[in-house]
Each structure stands twice: as structure tokens, then as C-alpha cells.
């Protein structure tokens, strides 16, 4: 079954479903405890095999959404369904790729990739074979025995992607994975991610604050509002020549979509800046970190 077939067949199905999800944090300031709403009433459906990009101003709750979906924290209200079932905690059906790679520095590239396979209970040989396979998939064959500090940023992120793919999760959650990379490395990793997505058929939820990145990668782009984060709009990206050689980014259609999202975001960024200034003057809840 080709990727396109798979997708059209499952058009009505929903892989991930955020249903009126709200997350509040308790923030302690001296003796007073206040509530802080990070995301509010988020509704978002992601189809099986879909590449969904989420853009929003920084601090709008993108990572919070991802944590919720990963099962690392629970929503204050609302629910998140994965294959129609509420999420009950972390699990190997979802893989996360973080901006800061989060590789274990004491493990070689291969041993890092094996980590999830160990959690899955695979034997030594099986782990090694799969680790090699995924290292090859991300273009790092021959780097098995390198430690993270011996790899460049781009290579580290490739290892991190391989690690998350290796235990074969159905959903890949990526939290601004390319934000720390230089422009050239970022572009080549974006192209490669699309290639990997097409080959593996994973459902990908890709968080970014880059509009270009969102338009280039996503089949749909969810635009979030400033804090408290909600889904403001979902923009369809009908460009479908991703794996071809030509420079999609310079096309007119790309430019138009880019501008559309940019306009949506601009007001949000202004709002979030205004919010920040307000907080800076000392009233209300403070940004806690």
C-alpha cells in the first residue's frame, strides 16, 4: 500500500485527538500560589500517517501540548485520545525528539538508539541490528561507536531521530527539533525527515516556531494563539512535491501560504509581547521556569 493510498483510506480516521484540552500549572510565588493557564480549550485532530505542523509564538504552550500527548503530564480538563483511547501515561507507541537532542552522553550513537529497544525487551543481537538499520536510515552508517560529544549538532539530531524511530512508535512527536541547527543543516534534515516520513508512514506532530519549516514540512499547519494557547486556525498545505528536486520554498504557492500563516501569527506575537511586558511590570502571574 502506498503512502497516498494509506492516507486516503484513513481520511476519516483520527490518530490523535485533542478534545477541549486545558492545562493549568500551579505557580508558587513566595507564599502565594496562583494558577497559570498554559493552554486552553485546545481541539485538534491528527489523521493516521499525517504530518501535522504546529506553529505558535514562544511560550504559547506548544511543548505543554506535546508533554500531554507524550503522557508526561495530565490535562487539567479535556482529554487526549490516541487511536480513540485516552492516554494513560508514557509509552513506546509514541517517540519524542527534543530540540536539545537529549542523547545519553555516556552511550555511543548505537547504544543510544538501543535504549528504547532495551525498554521494549529486545535481545542483544536484535537491538544491534535494528540500531544499525536506523543509523543507516538517518545517513549515519559507520558512526555506531561515536559518543554524542564526538558528533555535530545535526548528527546528534539524526541519532535522536533514529533513536525515536528504532522502537517503531506509531506517532513521532517532535519539539522544535531543528531550531538549534544552522540553516543549511536544518534544510537537509527537513528534506530527510520528509523522506523518512514517506518511507515509514509515521504520524508526525511537528512543533516549530518557524513558518517556513511548518509550510515546507506539514500537510496541515495548526496556528496557535499567544498565551493561553489555543488553536487559532488550521491551514491546509496542498503542495505535494516534497521529495522532488526543485526548490519548493521559492514557489508562489509556498509564498502565499507562508504569508497567510505569517499574518495569523503576527498578531499573536504582538499579543504575546504585550503580555510579557505586562508581566514584567509585576502584576498577575509571572512566567515561571
Amino acid at each position: 500500500m502506498s503512502h497516498a493510498e494509506q492516507q486516503s483510506r484513513s481520511l476519516e480516521e483520527v490518530k490523535i485527538s485533542f478534545q477541549d484540552v486545558t492545562k493549568r500549572f500551579r505557580v508558587r510565588e513566595g507564599r502565594t500560589v496562583s494558577e497559570f493557564t498554559a493552554v486552553e480549550g485546545v481541539n485538534l485532530d491528527v489523521r493516521p500517517g499525517e504530518f501535522m505542523a504546529v506553529v505558535g509564538p514562544s511560550g504559547c504552550g506548544k511543548s505543554t501540548l506535546l508533554d500531554l500527548l507524550a503522557g508526561l503530564s495530565e490535562p487539567t480538563s479535556g482529554q487526549i485520545l490516541l487511536d480513540g483511547k485516552p492516554i494513560s501515561g508514557p509509552g513506546l507507541d509514541r517517540g519524542i525528539v527534543f530540540q536539545q537532542y537529549a542523547l545519553f552522553p555516556w552511550r555511543t550513537a548505537q547504544a543510544n538508539i538501543e535504549f528504547g529497544l532495551e525498554a521494549k525487551g529486545y535481545g542483544v543481537k536484535e537491538r544491534r541490528d535494528w540500531a544499525r538499520h536506523y543509523l543507516e536510515l538517518v545517513g549515519l552508517a559507520g558512526f555506531e561507536n561515536r559518543y554524542p560529544h564526538e558528533l555535530s549538532g545535526g548528527m546528534k539530531q539524526r541519532v535522536a531521530i533514529a533513536r525515536s524511530l528504532a522502537f517503531d512508535p506509531e506517532v513521532l512527536l517532535m519539539d522544535e527539533p531543528f531550531a538549534a541547527l544552522d540553516a543549511q543543516t536544518r534544510e537537509s534534515l527537513q528534506a530527510e525527515l520528509l523522506r523518512i516520513w514517506e518511507r515509514t508512514g509515521k504520524t508526525i506532530l511537528f512543533i516549530t516556531h518557524g513558518i517556513d519549516e511548518a509550510v515546507y514540512l506539514g500537510q496541515r499547519v495548526a496556528v496557535m494563539t499567544a498565551r493561553p494557547g489555543r488553536i487559532k486556525r488550521i491551514v491546509d498545505i496542498p503542495i505535494d512535491k516534497r521529495s522532488e528536486e526543485e526548490d519548493i520554498r521559492s514557489g508562489a504557492e509556498f509564498g502565499a501560504l507562508r504569508h497567510e500563516i505569517w499574518s495569523e501569527l503576527r498578531t499573536e506575537v504582538q499579543r504575546s509581547q504585550a503580555l510579557r511586558q505586562e508581566l514584567g511590570s509585576g502584576s498577575g502571574t509571572k512566567k515561571a521556569r
Binding site: 508514557p90 545519553f104 555516556w106
Partner: protein, 283 residues
């Protein structure tokens, strides 16, 4: 001639570290030995001053005999077997105290660091003990445990435990939360998380503590041996001074330096084996 011997002790320690190393470690040690060669110049300078100052009458040769005299005394002590006996007594005490401290303080530190309530509860106590100089408690140890081996090993154990304990607690507390999050997102059990993430991530900090402990093990031991002992390098120095055998006293001091170097180099070699993935000039 005399200079060569003085350096032999330092060279010995460097050689020991070389033996156990893997290929990668070997390269690093090679770089380190280049550094040793460079710093040899300073030691040679000190040796020359030590030799010449008493001979030229700049200092009283009675209180600071020329280095060659000290080496001579050292050689006599070595040949007679007395030096080895004292050296063995000291190294046995300091190494067993250190090993006991490692066995005791690492598990305790891991537990305290991992269980937040334990940390909150025990922290004030730890601070209090840490700031009580081990040597101030020496009379207490002697009072309770006598002047035998038990009290000496115990005071070393005591002095070594604090740096190891505190570094271990710190190590566990400062594990990169992102690594924990990343592992937790796979749904692994808290025990596996501890074993596969917390423990290896805190290892470098644990080793820092062990190295600090290695240094204080000797410091405390020598003082303990000076107060009450029938063997050991601290005893040798004290005894020699008491009997006005000044060259022997200095010979003992030089041997203690060698012992310190030996223990430190040994610990560094072990550390490299366990945390070779960590880079940085200070390791």
C-alpha cells in the same frame, strides 16, 4: 643522581596510570605525560634550590639538610625495609578507609539524592557534619576506639565519606532533567530509570567526590598517625623529628607526597575507565 631518584617517585605514579588504560585513554595519557615533562622543570628547579640553599649557608643545614642528604636517608630507610613497612601501614589504612567510605557513602548519597524527602530531612545534618573538621574529632575517635587500626581506618572513613556523599547527592540532583524526561517518555520503570539514567549520569560527580576523598584520606591519616601509632608515615615523620633525625623526617615527607600522587593517579586512571565519554581538560 639524587635528582633522578626524587623524580622516580613521581614517574612511578605516572607509569601506573599507563598500564590499565585502553587505546583512547593511552592517547590522553600521552598528552598528560607531555605536560608532566614540561612541569618537571619546576620540580628540578625546586630540587636545585633545596640542594644548594643549605650548602651555600642560606638556610640552616640542620633544619633543612641538602636534598642529597635526604635522598641518602631515604635510601637507607628503603634498604632497611623500614620505609616499606611504614608505607604499607599507611597505604593499607588510607585505602581501606577510602574503600569503606566508597561502599558506604555512594549508596547513601544515591538514596538521599533520589528521594527528595530524604534530602530535605538529612540536608541540615549533612551540612553540620561536613563543616565539622574531621581532625577536630580525632580525639573522640581515639577516646572511643583506642589508638589501634580501628580508630585510624575509622577517621579516614569518616573524612572520606563527606566529599563522596555530597558529590553523589549533587550528581543525582543535577542529572539533566531532559534526559530523565526522555527516558520517562518511553514508559520505563523508576528502577530502570535510576539504573540506566540517574546512575550513569551522576558518575562523573561521584568520581570527583572520590578524588577529593583520596586527598583527604592521606591528610587525615598522617595526622592520626602522628598522634598515636607505632607504624605509618605520619609516625615516621613525627618519630624522626622527635629524635632529631631531620633527613629521615624529610624522607618521610617525600614519601607521603609520593603516596598522595599514587592514590590520585590511581583514582584518575579508574575514573577515565568509567567515564571516558566525558571530555574536558580537567579530567
Amino acid at each position: 643522581m639524587s635528582l633522578n631518584k626524587a623524580l622516580a617517585a613521581g614517574g612511578l605514579a605516572g607509569g601506573k596510570a599507563d598500564v590499565g588504560g585502553a587505546a583512547v585513554v593511552g592517547a590522553r595519557i600521552k598528552a598528560a605525560s607531555a605536560k608532566v615533562v614540561r612541569s618537571t622543570a619546576a620540580i628540578a628547579g625546586l630540587a636545585a634550590i633545596w640542594e644548594l640553599a643549605p650548602r651555600l649557608g642560606l638556610v640552616d643545614a640542620t633544619f633543612l639538610p641538602p636534598l642529597s642528604k635526604v635522598i641518602e636517608a631515604w635510601w637507607e630507610l628503603a634498604v632497611s625495609g623500614a620505609l616499606l613497612e611504614h608505607f604499607q601501614a599507611s597505604i593499607m589504612r588510607s585505602v581501606s578507609g577510602l574503600l569503606l567510605a566508597i561502599a558506604f557513602a555512594i549508596p547513601l548519597g544515591l538514596a538521599i539524592g533520589y528521594y527528595k524527602p530524604a534530602a530535605a530531612f538529612l540536608n541540615p545534618l549533612l551540612e553540620l557534619f561536613r563543616n565539622t573538621a574531621a581532625l577536630a574529632l580525632l580525639p573522640v575517635f581515639i577516646l572511643i576506639l583506642g589508638i589501634g587500626e580501628t580508630s585510624k581506618v575509622s577517621i579516614v572513613l569518616y573524612a572520606c565519606s563527606w566529599p563522596i556523599l555530597l558529590s553523589t547527592v549533587n550528581g543525582v540532583r543535577n542529572v539533566d532533567p531532559l534526559l530523565v524526561k526522555s527516558a520517562r517518555s518511553l514508559g520505563i520503570s523508576p528502577f530502570k530509570l535510576f539504573l540506566k539514567v540517574i546512575l550513569p549520569a551522576s558518575l562523573p560527580s561521584v568520581f570527583t567526590g572520590i578524588r577529593l576523598a583520596g586527598a583527604s584520606s592521606i591528610l587525615v591519616l598522617i595526622a592520626a598517625e602522628m598522634v598515636g601509632a607505632k607504624a605509618g608515615l605520619g609516625y615516621l615523620i613525627n618519630y624522626a623529628q622527635y629524635n632529631f633525625q631531620i633527613p629521615e623526617m624529610y624522607a618521610g615527607i617525600l614519601t607521603i607526597s609520593a603516596l598522595g600522587l599514587l592514590i590520585n593517579q590511581g583514582l584518575i586512571a579508574i575514573e577515565r575507565k568509567f567515564s571516558g565519554w566525558k571530555t574536558g581538560p580537567d579530567r
